[in-house]
């Protein structure tokens, strides 16, 4: 039972359909055959009765005149063709019985000799004789002897109200069996022929019914590990339940994917936030002694003895401490809220700032802007964001590459910045750590550019995203602004 339950619908549905088709064919054929048998049987009796009364009429004169030979000739003339549904081999038994219940004549004289008393006969005729009402019965009687499956029809020979005897017709009802067997065989072959056409059609039809379910099931096997493949699977498009199921499945996949992306983003931003808090804490802890140390260096330079070796050492200390301060300052990005607004001219400044680098790398920089008036956003961080992104793009761009920068303010009061280059895509395994400090894979640069961009965008309550496909990598920044009252 178990293997059957576990069988794939690919087989289960067609097999069930086959079973249903075969079962139906079997039942219908059986019902028809049973009906045919009943009809044959009824026909046999009807025939026997009509033949019996015909013989009874014909035999009156020979019996009346004691003409055994003519009676025999009449019985002999009953051809088997007059008895439909009987096989040729089995002719009916015909007996003429006189008033004394002796056999007047029979069509099988060897078995039923002339003058024999029917009551004394052995076998089915004797059994029949015991059941027949011989006296005063002018009606035909039908008697079946079950032991030999023989149907007897007894017709009285009556002339002028006087009973002369009886005509007995005996049909072996098994004699219709060969004919019936032929019928069954024919029905079997016809059914087989019909099945030959119906079965392949139903098989294909059943397979087609199973197919959408199978497609859905195979798509489901990709969940939850390979959502993209599950999303791309060819699912049935139809209005029926399977179609609805597919649609629901698609929605589920889309939501799962969204959830997965959100989770990934959350992990990234939580990590970045943690790094931010950590770096801010460290920066503060470093800044306090650093300030003291730099002040001490300054004080020594101003008031100390000017020993050349000491001065050289202090200068080395000063440069080192300054580098620490710069690095800490870069880690600890802080936006000054009091700043001038962003103006179109800022974009031109940026162009000027990177022009040297553009020429050195032989790339083309296109800046497309719809900025026409100052925006209520601080100019410095925006400039820093753009500058960092463009410098990154130039570094990632191949020679003769194109860097496309777009600056747009939307009606929903968002500033959209996009910086795209046509260099190699960012490898998948770097994506998660892209904005983390010192995460760079490049030789040059200190790996703080994107960290700064990230910190600035966050502080401006904006959003940041990266799209990196083959041949095109875009950084998208979206920063909301409010109009001054």
């Amino acid at each position: 039972m178990k293997p059957l339950t576990n069988l794939s619908l690919r087989w289960k549905i067609p097999l069930r359909v086959m079973f249903a088709v075969l079962g139906t064919a079997f039942l219908i054929t059986t019902a028809l055959l049973v009906k045919d048998y009943e009809e044959m049987r009824a026909n046999l009796e009807r025939n026997a009765r009509s033949l019996g009364s015909l013989l009874a009429n014909t035999l009156i004169s020979p019996v009346l005149h004691d003409d055994v030979w003519r009676a025999f000739e009449i019985l002999r003339s009953v051809r088997i063709e007059e008895v439909p549904a009987m096989s040729d081999a089995a002719s009916p038994l015909l007996l003429v019985i006189d008033k004394e219940r002796r056999i007047f004549v029979a069509n099988e004289p060897r078995r039923y000799p002339l003058g024999a008393l029917v009551d004394e006969l052995r076998g089915d005729v004797g059994q029949m004789a015991k059941q027949v009402k011989w006296e005063g019965n002018a009606q035909q009687q039908s008697i079946t002897v079950p032991e030999s499956n023989t149907l007897f029809v007894i017709s009285p020979l009556v002339t002028d109200g006087e009973a002369l005897g009886h005509v007995v017709l005996g049909y072996a009802t098994t004699a219709i069996l060969p004919h019936y067997r032929e019928l069954v065989l024919r029905a079997f072959w016809i059914t087989c022929l019909a099945m030959l056409f119906i079965l392949p059609v139903s098989w294909i039809w059943a397979r087609r019914t199973a197919e959408p379910l199978l497609a859905l099931a195979s798509a489901m096997r990709h969940v939850p590990d390979r959502l993209t493949e599950a999303e791309q699977a060819a699912l049935p498009e139809s209005g029926d339940e399977i179609g609805q199921l597919s649609a629901a499945f698609r929605r589920m996949i889309a939501e799962l994917k969204l959830k997965q992306e959100l989770e990934e983003q959350m992990v990234v931003s939580e990590r970045l936030a943690a790094i931010g808090r950590l770096t801010a804490g460290i920066a503060h802890e470093i800044n306090n002694p650093l300030g003291g140390m730099l002040t001490a260096v300054k004080t020594w330079q101003k008031h100390g003895e000017h020993d050349p070796i000491a001065a050289q050492t202090v200068s080395l200390l000063e440069r080192g401490l300054t580098q620490i301060r710069n690095t800490v300052a870069a880690l600890l990005v802080e936006t000054k809220l009091q700043d001038r607004s962003l103006e179109p001219a800022d974009l031109e400044d940026i162009y000027l700032l990177v022009e040297g680098e553009v020429h050195a790398r032989h790339v083309t920089l296109q800046i497309d802007s719809n900025l026409s008036a100052p925006l209520p956003l601080p100019a410095t961080p925006i400039r820093q964001i753009l500058l960092n992104l463009i410098l990154n793009a130039i570094a990632a761009s191949p020679p003769n590459g194109i860097i496309a920068v777009a600056v747009q303010c939307t009606e929903s009061r968002h500033l959209l910045l996009s910086v795209c280059n046509d260099g190699d895509p960012i490898p998948e395994n770097q994506m998660a750590y892209l904005f983390e400090p010192f995460a760079t894979q490049r030789k040059e640069g200190h790996g703080l550019g994107l960290w700064v961009v990230y910190q600035l965008v966050k502080q401006l309550n904006g959003g940041l995203s990266v799209e990196s496909h083959s041949g095109r990598t875009c950084f998208l920044v979206e920063i909301p602004y409010a109009l001054p009252d």
Partner: protein, 302 residues
Amino acid sequence: MKNDPAINTDMAAAPFSRRTALKALFAQAVGLSFPLPGHSSVDAPLRIGLTPVFLDDQIGFLTHWREWLERKLGQRVQFVQRGSYREVIELLRTSKIDFAWLCGYPYVRYRDELRLVAVPLWRGEPTYYSYLIVDRSQPQLRRLTNLRRKVFAYSDPDSNSGFLYPQYAIAQSGENPAKFFARTFFTWAHRKVIEAVAAGLAAGGAVDGYVWEMLAEIHPQLVQGTQIIERSPPFGFPPFVANKNIPEALETRFRTALLNMADDANGAQLLRLLRLDGFTTADDTLYDSIAWMAAYLNLPRT
């Protein structure tokens, strides 16, 4: 049959002599030894009664024989067949037919009313036999006495071979022929006696030996189921007889036709089909043995 002699014989009986006379006159006037068929066929036909002393159910053969006779006699010929010997005998005795092929037994009974015309030759002799046949599937039946209390088939109560002789044989063995068998019946034809015995309807039967032998030749499957257990002594073959009242000339003409049949090419062919060698004239005494048997059986019995 279009012209039923039974209907128009009453009229035919009276003008008979006149018609024959006219015919004779006509024959003289034209100067021919026999009249033209075309002329005579307008006359009343020559009526010949047939009985199942031979296989009278071969319609094709009868047509050819009738046409042959018409050519030879120069007169239309009509064969008259009836269900039993008795009906044919009655037709002959009442002059409703002119000739008949009868069994020897009715001939001896009505000898003074009839005239012997010709006797067939079978196997070179004007005699035949009665065969006592039994159901071949009952091999214990080897002689007549084995048939006691059995069912027996006779052909016709007016038949010598199919009734008179077996009755005589039973009487000869000291039994009462009326009580010897359990049941008897008539089939009204020798051929049907054979069929009845072969089918097992009767355990035994008596048949014309000539008919049995002929059937054995042309329908062997019919006689296969039967076995001959006794043959009678020879009896006079069923003869062609004439009503005593018919003109001598007509009788002579018919006799001549039959006697010359073997010499005629077509006639000989017809005879071959009948398995006969020809016809002969025979003395009346040929049938005395039949007459004696009839007389023997008519003796009062205790």
